[in-house]
Subunit: 319 residues, 2 copies
């Protein structure tokens, strides 16, 4: 029997695990719920960076060197916009621009953002079920030393330099979950949470009313993988953010972000010392190498995570 | 004393004369009223082909080989849109796309299209007063063998092959002229009409209520230049359209299109036989070489046209 797997994923880290899973699982058994909290309008075009990173990665069109954007990219549209005095710190490529133009046109025509994401993915040859948590607008806002910033302003323009004091998901309280995302969580056999930033990549998904509840209710085995390696992130500001939000910057901090939402946690070998206290909290723990660099790494980490989820399922069944 | 000159111009032919005038006249004495009837939305972006051709020509950024679009252009955005199943017969370049993205965003922000056109031109270094006849939407529609077509559908997609039976300027009756265009006609010393298609390039300008009346009322000397050479157009379907609309396909036909709106007509040497009947209708006539290929041609034709306008002014003053 083939199990139905649903992954909650942010951008770059999420896309790596998604690729690993895609290399192992029949594509029609795999659903991925992405993050739309990073979405922002640039030059009147709706840009959805995390969803695009997932799509481009799964389509094998991603720029592998930087982990986002399309390979073999040029920036002539942006150079033109700069000539008109537009802010061009968000590095949108020419091929990438087609995605934003298409998405924006479809949104203006009233097509559900979920359907648009599916059309874009389908056009690029992605057969995996790529889902949005909501068709409504939810936008991550960060209160920093420099005041409130949109996520891309913080992440790209300010290069994560400002200290973050508070995180809000604008629009979340009124957002409605998509039936597809709810079903993917409720009907899954295994729900995985990618090694993405829990504060700004996974939390905006969980902030959509109904998503957290579905994750609490589901009969699926729920496994997260920590984005920390030796108590630090490979890339991005998750470690600093954990501390700023009052979480310990270690596996316990990650587990606390997902309290009540996971049955097991995968942690890196370098964080093996955290194991005992996690188990004391009633979590199943897998300690393994979690660094994903090559395609081979991604498949290995995904494979171990799936094997761990299977083992947890058997244990639950026997309990 | 420097005379104030206003040119009514369509796309490629209009841009050539505009360049010729720009090479001779102080830029702050020159106003150009362009055609917005060719405007059409593509991929959710507002494209204004005739205005862009004027702007790019005056900025010396035009693709000289084809007469439209930007030089050294690429088409990666369009290739991306094609992948999403979009119709891509309208060949929009990457650099050009920046213009359409900027224009569309500014329109959505409520900026007057006239101001947007001025900003685009200014950003590209054009100091000439480039004006729109209206800030409202006027769209040229052609009834053909294939039914009603938008101008770009007829011109680009169908390559002018269908026979045209009727021309309408949708939105014209309710359009309001821009105060800038009215002032440019009313306060000009000389109004020139470019060798553009009278039926689909100049008529949509004149169809904006108030523009024709301003041209009738102005004290300016009004000179048109025929787009015909030996009774045929250099490029484009103006000759076939004249015939289809019931005009003779010669200088008299052009004069009839502008009846009551011009004091003089410039015709090509190869159409010299038309001179007498034009004069019999009370028009001043200049017979000269009108073909504009090189930059030198453009300046020569503009120079002769201006000298002719000056002569007509003196004649009027003496009358």
């Amino acid at each position: 029997m083939t199990l139905r797997i649903t992954l909650l994923a942010g951008g770059v880290g999420g896309a790596k695990l998604a690729e690993g899973l895609a290399s192992l699982c029949p594509h029609d058994t795999l659903s991925i719920i992405g993050n739309v909290g990073d979405d922002q309008e640039f030059h009147g075009l709706w840009v959805s960076p995390d969803i695009d990173t997932l799509t481009y990665s799964l389509a094998d069109m991603i720029d592998r060197r930087q982990g986002w954007g399309l390979t073999d990219e040029s920036h002539r549209v942006l150079a033109g916009l700069e000539r008109f005095g537009c802010d061009t710190w968000m590095l949108l490529g020419d091929q990438d621009m087609a995605t934003h133009i298409f998405r924006t046109q479809q949104r203006r025509q009233g097509v559900r953002p979920s359907i648009i994401a599916k059309r874009i993915a389908g056009s690029l040859g992605v057969e995996i079920n790529l889902l949005l948590p909501t068709d409504d607008t939810v936008q991550t806002r960060l209160r920093t030393d420099q005041g409130w910033l949109a996520f891309q302003e913080y992440f790209v323009r300010e290069r994560c330099r400002p200290e973050v004091h508070e995180v809000r998901f604008e629009g979340a309280s009124k957002a409605r979950p998509t039936p597809e995302a709810l079903a993917a969580i409720e009907r899954a056999d295994i729900v995985l949470i990618a090694p993405s930033n829990p504060i700004v990549s996974i939390a905006p998904i969980l902030a959509v009313p109904g998503i957290r509840q579905a994750l609490e209710r589901t009969h699926a085995t729920r496994i997260a993988i920590s984005p920390l390696i030796g108590g630090r992130t490979v890339k991005g500001p998750a470690d600093r953010m954990l501390a700023a939000m009052g979480y310990p910057c270690n596996s316990q901090g990650i587990a606390a972000c997902y309290a009540g939402l996971i049955d097991g946690l995968v942690i890196d070998l370098s964080d093996a010392a955290d194991r005992r206290s996690l188990e004391a909290e009633g979590l199943q723990v897998l300690t393994t190498g979690t660094l994903m660099q090559s395609g081979d790494d991604k498949a290995k980490v995904a494979d171990r995570m799936l094997a761990f989820a299977h083992a947890c399922r058997r244990e639950e069944a026997n309990a």
